[in-house]
């Protein structure tokens, strides 16, 4: 009886973690990092083989990966050259993704360790996926270090479903800086005149939108066909 209970619990947790693992891969791929479809669409059996230990529980500590930005992404996030800076560096760099084995809430210590790991290995961005919420001070560590490494945190339960796959969620495309300038010029707008999207909006979090970036939203409508709208991330 007991064993049965624990094994079904393992199975449920395995399935949860597998789904989160797939979603985070899809997310990283959608952001423009280089991941092959085999890496993204891992079947459950393969996932178990890789991360389950002898008694069937998943070792979160092993669930980690890094990904390099694609050429297109590097180009998209390279600011336009200026006389002062003729060869600007791309803002896109390697991303590090890690599942946190900590089960109780995440404190300063865990967060600092993650940030240090990212900066020591020259990762430009890091995503920490946790089973429990962050403490307020751990959240602060995350924002304080934002200038050096772009740190994001997701909870496992946020990633059980890929929200962008929902049919009612329209396609969101992040604009590069040049595309944004062109848009504002074409419509003679100030950026504050654009409609907004909150940076904590689930879609904004999925895409890793930063403040000031503009996202293009393509909707299809039976009456109007395809039409685009734009939102400024605030």
């Amino acid at each position: 009886m007991e064993e049965e209970g624990s094994s079904s619990m393992h199975a449920r947790e395995t399935s949860r973690l597998w789904r989160a693992w797939r979603t985070v891969h899809e997310m990283v791929q959608d952001r423009g990092y280089e991941l092959s479809d085999e890496e993204v669409r891992v079947p459950l059996e393969q996932f178990k083989r890789e991360f389950a230990d002898a008694d069937g529980s998943i070792m979160r500590g092993k669930m980690q990966f890094s990904a390099r930005p694609s050429e297109a992404m590097i180009k998209k996030f390279t600011p336009p050259p200026t006389p002062g800076n003729p060869n600007p560096q791309s803002e896109a760099g390697t991303i590090w993704v890690e599942f946190c084995p900590e089960k109780s809430s995440i404190g300063i210590g865990v967060m600092k360790k993650f940030v240090q790991h990212c900066s020591a290995n020259n990762f430009k961005a890091g995503i920490l996926i946790t089973a429990a919420p962050l403490s307020p001070q751990a959240r602060k560590v995350m924002t304080v270090t934002q200038h050096y490494t772009q740190i994001e945190c997701f909870m496992e339960e946020d990633l059980l479903v890929n929200i962008t796959h929902h049919e009612l969620v329209p396609k969101h495309i992040v604009l590069s800086r040049e595309e944004k300038m062109a848009l504002l010029k074409r419509y003679r707008l100030k950026e504050t005149q654009l409609p907004r999207i909150l940076s904590k909006d689930p879609i904004a979090r999925y895409l890793g939108l930063k403040r000031g970036q503009v996202v293009k939203i393509v909707r299809t409508s039976e009456t109007a066909g395809r039409y685009a709208s734009y939102r400024l991330c605030v």
């Binding site: 109780s104 809430s105 995440i106 404190g107 300063i108 210590g109 865990v110 403490s135 307020p136 001070q137 751990a138 602060k140 560590v141 304080v144």
Partner: protein, 289 residues
């Protein structure tokens, strides 16, 4: 409209006969008043400083590691003085929210939320826990190692929530003190456990009493009783002499019995006349305004 023309329009302004005296030179306040004013201004400034610089993360890290000295003779009730000083000095600058953050941060490490306690926090499972005193959320219980520590920690929190300021090195700081424990004997001598327990229980009892008096006082203040507790009324409860066994309530009309649901009679679906009759019973025949 047609009135006799007035000799001259009279100004509604007061006559400027009494010219305002030239602004007097501000007379220098006496020294004591100057000091008081200065202090008041400083206090005012402090209160206005709502955007206080946040407590650095390092401070939180430091305080999550307390107590530094861990010996069997030391406990949350008898914390090492150095730790006490460090704790109070740091927490003086805390906002209540930051103090809550500290508790949470310690909980993340598995420690008791009270910063001077060396013990791990409780780890009850489930959402609620049944206690002798009632039902409590396990999340609230799991913040501490014991109820005593919860009291100690909350004692600090209350002082941060309703701060009183004292002067220290020319600055106004929040007055903070630890909750009083049983009188300290020499820390080297290990105490008799039973004795200690008895004292703790005694302490608890005292707390309960002071709490009830406090509650009563605040209730009285809320009601506007000026006399407070002084005006307490002696209440004596007398037992009734003839006590018959209690009877269940019964509907009066036997005929209607089947129409009653939990003592209430349904009125719809019954013929009009009886309906109106019953209405008449409840409504006054005329309404006068």
């Amino acid at each position: 409209m047609s009135t006799a023309p007035a000799p001259a329009p009279r100004g509604i302004l007061k006559k400027a006969a009494v010219a305002a005296p030239p602004p007097a030179e501000p007379t220098p306040l006496p020294r004591e008043q100057q000091i008081t004013l200065h202090q008041a201004q400083q206090l005012q400034r402090r209160l206005e400083e709502e955007i206080k610089p946040p407590v650095p993360i390092e401070t939180f890290e430091r305080l999550t590691q307390l107590p530094r000295v861990r010996r069997p003779s030391l406990s949350a009730a008898r914390p090492p003085p150095d730790d006490v000083r460090e704790f109070l000095n740091a927490v003086q600058d805390f906002l209540p929210r930051e103090y809550s953050d500290l508790i949470e941060e310690r909980n993340c490490m598995g420690s008791c939320g009270y910063a001077l306690c060396p013990r791990p926090r409780r780890s009850y499972e489930g959402e609620y826990k049944i206690l002798k005193t009632g039902i409590a959320k396990t999340a609230d219980l799991n913040m501490w190692c014991s109820d005593e520590c919860a009291r100690r920690a909350l004692y600090i929190k209350v002082q941060l929530d309703n701060p009183s300021y004292i002067r220290k090195d020319g600055q106004m700081v929040v007055k903070l003190e630890l909750r009083e424990e049983e009188p300290k004997s020499s820390p080297q001598k290990p105490k008799d456990k039973v004795d200690e327990l008895a004292k703790t229980l005694e302490q608890l009892e005292v707390d309960k009493k002071t709490q009830t008096t406090k509650d009563a006082a605040s209730l009285a203040a809320e009601r506007g009783d000026v006399g407070g507790l002084a005006r307490q009324v002696e209440v004596t409860i007398h037992e009734k002499s003839d006590v018959a066994p209690a009877k269940a309530p019964e509907p009066e009309q036997e005929a209607d019995m089947h129409l009653f649901i939990e003592g209430h009679k349904m009125t719809f679906g019954i013929d009009k006349d009886s309906d109106e009759e019953s209405d008449d019973d409840y409504l006054p025949s005329t309404i006068r305004l």
